[in-house]
Amino acid sequence: MVASNTIDRGRTLLREQPVLALAGVAGAVLVLDLLARLAGVEVPLVGDRTFGGSLGMGRFGGLLWNGIIVGLIFGLAGIGLSMTYSILNFANFSHGDLVTTGAFTGWGAALLVAGWGVADVGHLLLVRPGSGANPNEIGASIAQAPLSILIGAAVAAVATVVVAVAIDRAVYKPMRDRGGIALLIASIGVALALRYVIQFVYGSRNRGVTSTQDVNATVLGITIDLHEATLVLVAAGLMLGMHLMLQRTKLGKAMRAMADNKDLALVTGIPTERVVTATWVLGGALAGVAGYLYVLERGTIEFNLGWFLLLFIFAAVILGGIGSIYGAIAGGFVIGFVHEVSLIWVPSDFNAAAAFTIMILVLLYRPQGLFGGVTTA
């Protein structure tokens, strides 16, 4: 009885959403293939293609860990994007450049504190724009100068908030009553202007930032990168804080109300303009810290960094369902895993394309997101 019900449901799915069914089958095949690889089973197919193969548990674990790391970054930055999307009703294409803003301002402060006296202030504050003291001489790492890393994170948040709120006042506020597309176009303008202001000030060189001395520590026999551990702790802490804020405080309730139904929120007396500002403050701070942590993990910084992340962040937000911060976090993990684990099957120049393909498929066949259309923060 149960089995026939399942078969019936399968038939309906096949008839009504053939592509979704196909995607399900493809996913199942990939999971089986993954299990076969992990078990070391190899079944020859056509030519030199095989089903299964060999994949060490260590490599798989490494890919999963990388997936968690990038997933946290996508999710953290995605929270802000998701909030502006649901509360202000537009896709903010300048969100990636807010991420870059946080990365540069935060690392400027971190290097200034860590390398005080080692190099001149301009060199440190502009995050090593030219030749000068190298990252190991400056010594900005969580092992050597933990205080500087924390100060940098705080500065990244504050500076990005200032920039985000200023942009809102100058660009988006006069356009509050306009449609989503007009705001989207304006945000493309903001993205261009902001990115190249950053290039103008900080230069276009892709350079190393963090010191790599003593960042590997062995805990209980497992070697962990302290920078990655910091990233996981800070990101998880911020996400938890976001959750508490939204569920326990009045501001959180007001934001959820506004995301749900703006007119009703206005009628109820919620100060919408203040909620909008709070949205930019929270979203900007998280975006800035996400950019800062991303640089902490990868060690290098450039002015295009956030722009390259933007589509992944969009992918995470869309996957989780626009408007839901939990969706953005979960979507971040899914996209992170797709980005890293897909390396088992596709060459490394296609893993980004794989993540974008997932995003497009979700938009096309399940636009409310994977986790059912919760559009409330």
């Binding site: 592509v19 301009g122 502009l126 724009p129 356009m175 304006a186 303008g189 103008f200 393909t357 995003m359």
Partner: protein, 447 residues
Amino acid sequence: MSADGSNDPDADAPGPDAEGPSADGPADLAAYLRAEVAATDFRIVVATMLAVYALFAVFTLLAGGGLNTLGSTWVRLTFLFAAYAILSLALNLHWGYTGLFNIGVAGFMGVGVYTMAVLSTPPDAISGMGLGLPLPVGIVGGMLAAALVGLVAAVPALRLRADYLAIVTLGLSEIIRLTLNSATLSGWTIATFGFGTGGGSGIDLPARPTDALLDTVVGTALVDVLDPTITASVLRRSLWVLVMIGFVIGIYVLLARVGNSPFGRVLKAIREDELVAQSLGKDTRWFKIKVFMLGCALMGLGGILWQGSQGYVSPDSFRPIVTFYVFVAVIIGGSGSNTGSLVGSILFVGLLFEGPRTFGNIVSNAVSLPSAPGTFAGAVAPLASLDVTPLLSYLVGNISAFRFILLGVVLILIIQKRPDGVLGHRTETAAAIDLDRPAANGGGNDE
């Protein structure tokens, strides 16, 4: 040339009101000139173009360039006008006419150019490999491939909300670029035929067909006559630019006819309110698919004529920024107006794309600034002692970044203050025949 103005469709000749009040003061003269220029769309485009030419003539003379430099500058400008005009006409068909927010222009260009390259590049090319088929086959193939990719994207995507469509098309264009950039596909061969895309190192392209014209008897004679003043390379490029202008005119006429046809009226209805169009019994989905494919084919063609005409192309030419350039051109001109797209392309190329760089060159030549400091800190620190020259030379040295900032700010200002662009406010008559009553005193021009 006139299509979407409310004027006489083919009024290239001065209208009856051209002999209006005689100019007796400067104010009258200005108003008179403005009315004269605005009389037909053709004149608007030509006047804008002449103004930009004149501006660059001044720039070139200030920089001390001769006739050949001037010719070279004008040819480069016209080349870019034509390239952006084709792309913005195609985008205007999507966005301005039908309301489809497609920001994957660069991807569709890439599909067109690479298909053309794989079909028409000789098999023995240094970088990348091709089948060596005749060029027209490659061009038609490129347009078809772009249209097919458009079809694949359009069938599911066109029922999405506008902002979702934007993200899907941007994602698609990045997937296309990453695929072209991939090392895996760079040397793909089937039997003896190569389909290699060349990966990140790009692909060689067939030569421009017009280049062969200069090798004929007439061509060499022409080169010999002009040689000291206009060099052969400028002449070679200008011949190709003429071909491109031909394509611009052709596409303009095509789109004007599409816009004025019953088909075009349905497109505008979809843009204004899709539900109404559906209620009137129009299968809007099918209309949108058709127009999306047509626009994508034109984007492929635009890519081929532009990026495909330079002997070599790499995936870097199809970054999303190219899409935004085209978007700025359409927005400046005013979405929904074909003439606006032409004017927007000219203004974008002249004032935003080429203008700042040329201006920066002139300033750096004229003022003999000290060499630019390497970093922003080096530029700002002397401000403490009221020394602004390092900042100035840093600004001139980084004029390319400044250009993008200007672009972003202009985009924001236009969308805030004048979302209709230069010409988007005009009422469009969606009819192939002139709807104006024959006016007794020729007053058909006061919109």
